[in-house]
Symmetry: C2
Subunit: 410 residues, 2 copies
Amino acid sequence: MKLNAVIAGVGMTRFMKYPDKGLKELGAEATRAALADAGLELADLEGAFVGNCAAGLVTGQESIRGQVVLDSMGVGKIPIVNVENACASGSTAFVQASVMVSAGLHDVVLALGVEKLSHPDKSKSFAAFAGAMDVDELKQMMEDLAKAAAESAREGKGGGAGQSRSMFMDVYASAARAHMEKWGTTREQFAMVSAKNSLHGSLNPNAQFHEVLSVEDVLADREIVYPLTRSMCSPIGDGAAAAVILSERKARELGVEKPVRIATTVMHSGYNHAEDEPDTVQLSSAEAFEEAGLGPDDLDLAEVHDASAPAEIIAYEQIGLCKPGEGGRLVEEGVTRLGGRLPVNTSGGLLRKGHPVGASGLAQVVEISNQLRGRAGKRQVEGARRGLAQNGGGKKGNDAAAMVVTILES
Amino acid sequence: MKLNAVIAGVGMTRFMKYPDKGLKELGAEATRAALADAGLELADLEGAFVGNCAAGLVTGQESIRGQVVLDSMGVGKIPIVNVENACASGSTAFVQASVMVSAGLHDVVLALGVEKLSHPDKSKSFAAFAGAMDVDELKQMMEDLAKAAAESAREGKGGGAGQSRSMFMDVYASAARAHMEKWGTTREQFAMVSAKNSLHGSLNPNAQFHEVLSVEDVLADREIVYPLTRSMCSPIGDGAAAAVILSERKARELGVEKPVRIATTVMHSGYNHAEDEPDTVQLSSAEAFEEAGLGPDDLDLAEVHDASAPAEIIAYEQIGLCKPGEGGRLVEEGVTRLGGRLPVNTSGGLLRKGHPVGASGLAQVVEISNQLRGRAGKRQVEGARRGLAQNGGGKKGNDAAAMVVTILES
């Protein structure tokens, strides 16, 4: 939908494991940073949408997570809506906040994504991943994947389901193998994604990892499930990211400096599509471009959902940054690296900035907003005017459960 | 906010324990019933807001609960937003669906509340209750309440924290004792609420309990925590309720029979209010009446959040159906009974219709819609034209975490 709303400020915590911080501390830090960036106060907020995915299963805090965070900062009375859409929970908060403002229902709304995913008992983090799939489907899938992995192992390709940190990596590995088979994409190309994003992440103070990895480092890392090594998988971490969304009128009234226009933000749910039907990334991207009156060539940068390295390559193709099958070449030719024609995941992406599930979608918005406002420091894309964020969540049938594509303009 | 949206159809499952049904079966039944009532098909839906509170902690299904339910019916592609606000999750779905339609963002939206709360392992249901409070606050509260209950026991009033089915009943019991002390409200008056609602519930095929209780039955029931007996507490149960919300234009276009106008639906979050400041029920009711241009005297019926019997009496006063301190007398005089001047909880309320947390708010909407359309069978309030629904969720500080007050008109 065409929107009449702008981002006035963004903020985030560094993504990492915070053994001593919970939802309240993380959420408050991102909220205060976004408000400060907007030049606004807590008392200016007229509503809040809060995305979180795992707290119920990791910390026992269900149901009123947004209230718990905001009340700890003294914010009450205003409507607070807790939203959830697995890894797209943060983007869902962003969509709802944006459309509420655009529709004239509020003038100043907070979109917050916050996640405390790490836990000394790792089984709790894994339960959160499982909860982002249809739990009935999950059982069936575990059986199917175990079978496929056994076959793959017999063919000497290594790997094996059940060794992976979550079923999602089995799903990504399976998609990666299919892409290799169909298009000749190579493990090296997947590794190039991780290496590129490690370089980007090294320039982002808020990234979980600052180490620069070579393609060789990535390939030599521990195998999770063929063809994925550990460096090709997003890590477990905690963090929060926030955006303060204003009506255009309010932004003018307050004299907000360099507001970022939300050209559009499109959400679709997964469906069991046939081979020749578009998946949710294709659906949502095409619709976003149409609504914004733009095409892939108009973009200066993009943040895509690289929960695994192959996912970034597949996303290039689904979004239309290149033709089907050419994603591997796109990264190999350096097009999507800082300095290339269309830098992707300048933040370090989910792979290196980190992936505290409910916060990840809003962290994409933080990165693009900072880029469009010329505040991205050493990883600034010169003259960036338009950026796209793609954030998917969960799994349902042969698609993501939820998909959000957002286009922002300076 | 003033809304331009109507309810075209409503539907619900009977509320009860369903050992053999899950979210999918319950959610599908309510959705199909609401669509049939509206004369619409699944394919007409343009978006869905799904409220659920406990699935993560009870069944392990987090994050994509709405997608899981709707995909099982073949519904995909459309935006599905999972919302959560403890016992007000269903109302939160209703608010979001209503404002999205009113703002012109969609023409046909589903609001669904669905809950599978019962579990052979009762500790799972209790974990869901705990998750609806600030888990840090909870620890402190358990200590405080244990102390207060010990004192109460010393004074010969029986009871004791820790015996209760959930901390919420300790909270309600504490509020009830304060009301008794301040206003002279009696245990008999609390029992009259349960008896009245049992009569109403006996006339509602979808109520969990159909047995008619006398005041004596309620008082003679097992004590949970003084002054509450078991019949003064809402039960654990499962179920789903749904409403199909249309723009007024779309309703006219489709020739919807007897659409119910959503005069307003107001949401507030809890805050630590001072003694002389309004709580969220007072805030939300006052705002709802103002926005609808109505007052308590204009109402023909109301559904209020009687998670415990004393809560209904307190709600009368907070909403303004009577003066402070007169709630006990209101029920005693039969004003809020079927046939009285202002019947409250004609559905049986949470006490007798049942309280599958995330579904309860939408079940209130179902009841009022059916009443306003003259479809409430043996419990029909003759000539009902205006009804109010009040649904609270969770606990934060000295208030509910979320509160929704809705006014519907025929």
